[in-house]
Amino acid sequence: MLELRKDIFADERDDNLNEIGKGTQRQDMLGHVTGTSTYFNDHKLQGMLHLKVLRSSHAHARIRRIDTGEAERSPGVRRIIRGADVPRNLNTLLSLINFGKDDEPTLAVDKVRYKGEPVVAVVADSDREAFEALAKIRVDYEPLGAVFDVEEALKAGAPVVNETYPKNTFTYYEIYDHQKLRFGDVERGFASADHVLEQRYQMSPIEHAPTETNGSIAAPDTNGRYVVYTSTQALFFSLDTCAKILDVPSNTFHFIGGTVGGGFGGKVDTLTEPLAILGAMLTGRPVRYIFGREEEMQYGPPRGAERIYLKDGVRRDGRIVARKVRAYFDSGAYTRLSSYAVVKCAAHLPGPYTIPNVYGDIYCVFTNRTPATAMRGFGVTAMDFAIECQMDKLAHLVGMDPMEFRILNAYRDGDMKAHRREAKNTALIECVQVAAEKAKWSLREEFKRMSSRKDGGGERAAVPVTATDPLKPARPAAQQRTPYDRPPRPAAAPEPPRPTPPAGSPTPAPQPAAHGAIRFSSVFGSRRR
């Protein structure tokens, strides 16, 4: 049951509108309830072939040899695709916004880094014939030590999961192995607290579980173009990713999608389109590549599992005075989007509360498991679980009602947030008050009278004196960044020349450390503002 509380914040709205605010029936309702809405897999094209991939049976192994001889002679097989057939067999999704290094092949070449990593693709007349051919491919693996725990992966001597990031962590701003947040002085905050509580929280990897699994159908169109029916959540994101991997201009493709059977973040990674299109390019026939349920569940990317350590200082009167956070995002074997979620997580600290001292170190860690990706609440869900369990424990510790404890600490209009922007348009207090009312949870009168629009700002608007970490020397970029719309061909884009120190000279002086604001993404590159 849903109730609109029009009485709250009524002075900030004009409710005299014609169409907005009405529960109008969905435009696509009739199609959905009669089963006539068109999804990508409803396109049955004449002469359509079927693509399936052979997936790694090891979590971490060197590939010694791949023998596809018998598979090639298998009935119905039209084409075997190997890593060497992929024009640009190394990509990272966020290269489209100029963030991160290319670290993931479409088909594994020298090494597999997680169980289920695609190694070879087979295009055949039917799904069955494709599966039968896959069973005839022989891969000679040399198993390597694997690491599955985020904190083990950071230890010296841990197996290197992904050579692009040899320390098993994503690199931020060319210098750091984590994203920092620094606001005030947490150690002084802890010293002034009556209670200090440190706890560990663990999120689990979770499947998006869409009704429709990931998939796409690519077909040769007239005039050298390809039409692609896809389940993607991000049409141009997928189109531009394919243009990069297949090394063709983006207008080679006509992507059609828009009606998707559930996404929740699991259909951003463009997992099927590049191979489906490549299959169509190599055979001249329409090619379908759709995940089975087991592939979707185990080898399609899950919500990543974060491990979070929270340390809070709270005073007897219920005020939280310091919050220190150390969190590890388990990215799996490749970056995909976890690097982005880490920054989003840092921005989210310390949750919707005004705390004068906040400290965060958030790591994006590589392990030998299926790469994680976005899922509903990306970067925030696990942190909210940790913070809100912790809030309950803190309220218990100081003997306060947990609702009143949250209202007391809630951020209000005019407060300074830990990422150093003023809080505006806040409404946490009102949500707690209304939820209490709904649940018949009694609040003391003074807490019922509190408001997001009152008593914020002032002292609470100050940016406290903050110590930052000692600066470390910057390392030069190991890999050239690519612009958003037109990735250069690898052959035409050699590493930018670097000054070579004269022989015998001492190690070059460390470059000045990057400090001050750095753009981390988009077409502007990693430039200072």
Partner: protein, 340 residues
């Protein structure tokens, strides 16, 4: 051996749109000669109602009935660029782009109507039912259909508009994390009531009461669909779901919906929702977006309710009967906390 009831709460906020911005969306709006409008997007409808929300935004901005607008999504040849349907950005980013495009189209529509009625466009208003009339003189009126015909065949005007919405990309300070992550935030508070069986460790949902603040609720039924479904996902994350039951040991992962547990119809509980609307200054008609945040408060609220019921803290998701039972045994039995 007994069943114990407990209540727990959680309160959260959630940023709208991609972190740091820099995530544009475009929209095109045009009328056919009968005064029916098409919105062309490359955005995706995942089932959340993208087409319907943008349709209402377009109709409201143009001043025409919603039946006169059709939204065409996700064709890269006809729909202009959109970053994608994620990061709770659809309503806010695409909605704003559609609004901008509809405003431009409305400008031409009113100019064309003014020419037909031989008045100044500034003196005209729409009635939201498909007519344009002189302010204060409803009898001096023309239908959008007649305006569209005149624009196309007589005046040679294109009733169309282009829109883009971009929150400029924010920089990040590597040392302090100073940044502008989002322009607006949604809020929520959830009260979950559970019943814990101290013999089996099983947790049953009894009820949920919640308050969500989402900016303006553009379509309350679509909002309800998101909040009800999202809370269900939250319950599922809290108590059931994992692709790696022994994480970080990757073995024994589920392969289908027989092995991957999720709550069924018998596990659904009543959920009483209040929606608050504090309009976002930069949202389309003040809208923020309910999409992602609705699952977030449920997990901790359930965990906190379990503590209230039996006195154990399970800090690792999912909170399976095994974990609850082990924790109860470790503390020598259930210790119900003060009833709330």
């Amino acid at each position: 051996m007994a069943r114990h009831r407990g209540r727990g709460i959680a309160s959260i906020n959630y940023p709208i749109g991609m972190n740091l911005g820099g995530d544009p969306s475009q929209a095109l709006v045009h009328s056919n000669p009968s005064g029916k409008f098409t919105v062309s997007l490359s955005s995706i409808d995942l089932g959340q109602g993208m087409k319907s929300v943008t349709r209402q935004i377009c109709a409201e901005t143009l001043g025409v009935p919603v039946e006169d607008v059709y939204v065409d999504t996700a064709d890269s040849d006809t729909g202009p660029h959109c970053m994608g349907s994620f990061a709770s950005r659809g309503t806010h980013r695409v909605g704003n782009a559609v609004m901008a495009a509809a405003k431009e189209a409305r400008g031409v529509l009113m100019e064309a109507a003014a020419e037909e009625l031989e008045v100044n466009a500034a003196d005209l208003e729409t009635d939201g039912r498909g007519n344009i009339h002189v302010k204060g003189a409803p009898h001096r009126s023309i239908s959008t259909k007649d305006v569209a015909i005149a624009a196309q065949f007589k005046q040679g005007k294109t009733i169309s508009g282009r829109g883009i919405f971009l929150v400029p990309l924010s920089a990040v300070d590597p040392e302090t994390g100073e940044m502008s992550p989002a322009t607006c935030y949604a809020h929520a508070c959830m009260v979950a009531e559970v019943e814990v069986d101290d013999e089996t460790g099983e947790v049953a949902m009894v009820r949920m009461d919640s308050a969500y603040e989402l900016g303006r609720a553009l379509n309350p039924r679509l909002v309800e669909q998101q909040l009800v479904g999202g809370a269900w996902m939250g319950v599922s994350h809290a108590l059931f779901e994992t692709t790696e039951p022994y994480y970080p040991d990757p073995n024994h992962g589920p392969r289908d919906f027989v092995e991957y547990l999720m709550p069924g119809p018998g596990d659904v509980c009543p959920h009483d929702i209040a929606v608050l609307e504090r309009p976002a200054p930069d949202g389309p008609f003040g809208a923020k977006g309910p999409g992602e945040m609705c699952a977030n408060p449920v997990m901790p609220a359930v965990a906190n309710a379990i503590f209230n019921a039996v006195g154990v803290r399970v800090d690792e998701l999912p909170i399976t009967p095994e974990k609850v039972l082990r924790a109860i045994k470790a503390q020598g039995g259930a210790r119900p906390q003060a009833r709330r």
